[in-house]
């Protein structure tokens, strides 16, 4: 197990370095640099030169990267070229909103996906199963941004049950906060719910066919007991993994959902950074999200190995 952990962490290090290289060079591909972006219409060669010297932009690329990565390692993601605020502070201020969005969507997905998948497996090849399977297919096919639009149309413009967007922080009251989050949770969570449903169904079917389940039934155990005590516990292990991996999808998907519901999270921050050509900020967001994603994957691999020690001999669970 310790060998597996060490190996898994060793693999993560070159990936993190690679991620930082992509984030660093992607932004350098844009014509112009931070100095021209910061000066905008007030551009003059002399002032640009001053800024370039201040931020080390006149140095060679490897030196710039080294300076940048040394700062990143200390948690300093640089300074936004619009407004000049700290990128790290800006990201951390927007983070709680995105976390609440992603966590709520994941809870919704688990609470609806797992029971539907189990029911579907229990009623295999019957109407309920076909209905659930088809719903699952629709779930992974509906674009979240369209679903969000439809939810706004029906539940906020037509019936006026929920507000159509904007964010109310928890500090301004739980009820108002929840009312603003329900529709975004649904819009973001449906696709994940569908994935979890399909996964629960297939692992459940696999487990039900195993000998120990047959033995439990043969002993005269009641069906609910067989399902909950024996089958479900084993079927849930891969489901947990899939659910964890979906966190990466949720982080990415939040970009679109935050745009639909005008929620001021990390995704909206990335879009605003693109619209304002604020490349240091965009770079910071991309790096931050990718590093989170790598860490989540690492954590899930470890968790998976703890839950199922056989994995430690085989290999990881992979990314997307």
């Amino acid at each position: 197990m310790i060998g597996f952990l060490a190996r898994r962490i060793l693999i993560a290090i070159p990936v993190l370095i690679g991620v930082s290289l992509v984030a660093f060079f992607l932004v350098r591909l844009v014509p112009g640099d931070t100095a021209t972006a910061m000066l905008g219409l007030n551009y003059s060669p002399a002032e640009a030169q001053v800024l370039r010297e201040k931020y080390g932009l006149d140095r060679s690329l490897p030196v710039q990267y080294a300076m940048w990565i040394a700062n990143v390692a200390r948690g300093d993601l640089g300074v936004s070229s619009v407004g000049g605020r700290s990128v790290t502070t800006t990201i951390l201020r927007r983070l709680p909103m995105t976390l609440q969005l992603a966590a709520g969507a994941l809870v919704f997905a688990l609470l609806s996906g797992v029971p539907l998948g189990v029911i579907s497996a229990m009623r295999r090849r019957r109407t309920a199963d076909y209905a659930a399977s088809f719903t699952g297919l629709i779930g992974i096919s509906v674009p979240g941004f369209w679903l969000g639009t439809i939810l706004i149309l029906v539940f906020s413009l037509h019936w006026r049950w929920f507000p159509s967007g904007d964010f109310v922080p928890l500090s301004r009251g739980l009820v108002e906060n929840l009312r603003h989050m329900v529709l975004p949770w649904l819009a973001l969570g449906l696709a994940v719910a569908a994935v979890i449903m399909r996964m629960s169904r297939s692992t459940m079917l696999e487990v039900i066919g195993q000998d120990y389940v047959r033995t439990a039934r043969a002993k005269g155990m009641t069906e609910p007991r067989v399902i909950f005590r024996h089958a479900l516990r084993n079927a849930l292990v891969p489901v947990v993994t899939i659910a964890g991996l979906q966190l990466g999808y949720l982080l990415g998907g939040s970009v679109v959902i935050e745009a639909v519901f005008s929620l001021p999270g990390i995704g909206k921050l990335a879009l605003d950074a693109i619209a304002q050509r604020d490349y240091p900020l965009l770079q910071g967001v991309i790096l931050f999200v990718a590093v989170c994603f790598v860490m989540i994957n690492l954590l899930i691999d470890v968790l998976y190995a703890v839950l199922d020690p056989r994995i430690a001999d085989g290999g990881g669970t992979g990314g997307r």
Partner: protein, 299 residues
């Protein structure tokens, strides 16, 4: 988007050469799946729309402006209504199939060729080749796909060709993983060992022996990726970072319609329906192909 892949195409690999009759059985299994046939007909209809859009669409998608009907509700003349410029929504949806299929087709082809080749080499040669290629793919996969695509679009600018490149880059590692896993299984098979023992060179083994036997999971992944590429193009265009803003793209139409939903729901609802239908069709066909190519996986 791609995170939503719940299916594992790699499991459809054969390590033993399939018997000749297998192909017909596969086709029969596929055609017996009614849902898949329905999906295949939707795809066929989409392709028809894309090819014959000029003749099928009642109005011009960009210049067909009806000045007497801005945002008019569905009617006999405009079955799906008109948008804020008085353009026919149905005509724009029909033309939208073109952009959607074209963007998805080319980007998936890029991902298939580049990712498939890299994965094939990594899985077959193992060792350093595998270590380097796999780490590179791990790096690309570490970025949530929509965010990576957005960042690439931010750097390159909103144009159709850039959308194709961005989606192609994002999905390359997925094909690499599928091809690598499949090639790793195949390379251990006795017929590969036999080919090597009689002195067949690597390029020939790769093309004649390994590639045909890892085709099944790649075909499945290609179909499923079409679904995700259609979604990705629509999402990028919806965010204003996709195709040119005057193009008849489903994502652009949805973006235009969203702000006027209260007075004209049809402008946002129908393009979204088209996206869903297209994605659903590719997903059902992908699922059915996987079941047909490897019946052991059927649930």
């Amino acid at each position: 988007m791609s995170a939503v892949v719940s299916t594992s195409p790699t499991s459809a690999i054969r390590t033993d050469p399939p018997p000749r009759t297998g192909r017909w059985q596969t086709i029969r299994r596929f055609t017996r799946n009614r849902l898949a046939m329905l999906g295949a007909s939707v795809i066929a209809a989409m392709i028809l729309c894309a090819i014959a859009a000029r003749w099928l669409a009642p109005f011009d998608p960009v210049f067909g402006v009806d000045s007497s009907a801005y945002l008019s509700a569905p009617s006999a003349t405009h079955p799906l209504g008109t948008d804020r410029f008085g353009r026919d929504v149905l005509s724009r949806i029909i033309h939208g199939a073109r952009i959607s299929l074209y963007a998805a087709g080319v980007s998936v082809a890029i991902a298939l060729v580049v990712g498939g080749t890299l994965g094939l080499l990594a899985g077959y040669f193992r060792g350093h080749t595998d270590a380097i290629l796999s780490r590179a793919m791990d790096v690309l996969i570490a970025f949530p796909d929509i965010l990576l695509a957005l960042a690439i679009m931010a750097v390159l600018g909103a144009r159709l060709i850039n959308v194709i490149l961005a989606i192609g880059v994002v999905y390359t590692p997925i094909f690499a993983r599928v091809a690598r896993a499949a090639a790793m299984q195949v390379r251990a098979a006795p017929y590969i060992e036999a080919a090597r023992a009689v002195g067949v060179r690597h390029p020939r083994i790769l093309l004649r022996h390994v590639l045909p036997n890892i085709a099944a999971p790649l075909i499945v992944q290609t179909t499923l990726s079409f679904a995700f590429a259609i979604l990705a193009e629509a999402a990028l265009s919806f965010l204003g970072l996709g195709v040119e803003p005057d193009a008849a793209s489903w994502g652009i139409m949805l973006r235009d319609g969203k702000d006027r939903m209260e007075i004209a729901w049809w402008v946002a609802v129908f393009p979204g329906l088209a996206i869903t239908l297209a994605v659903l069709a590719f997903n059902t066909v992908g699922d059915a192909l996987r079941d047909a190519l490897d019946p052991r996986l059927r649930t």
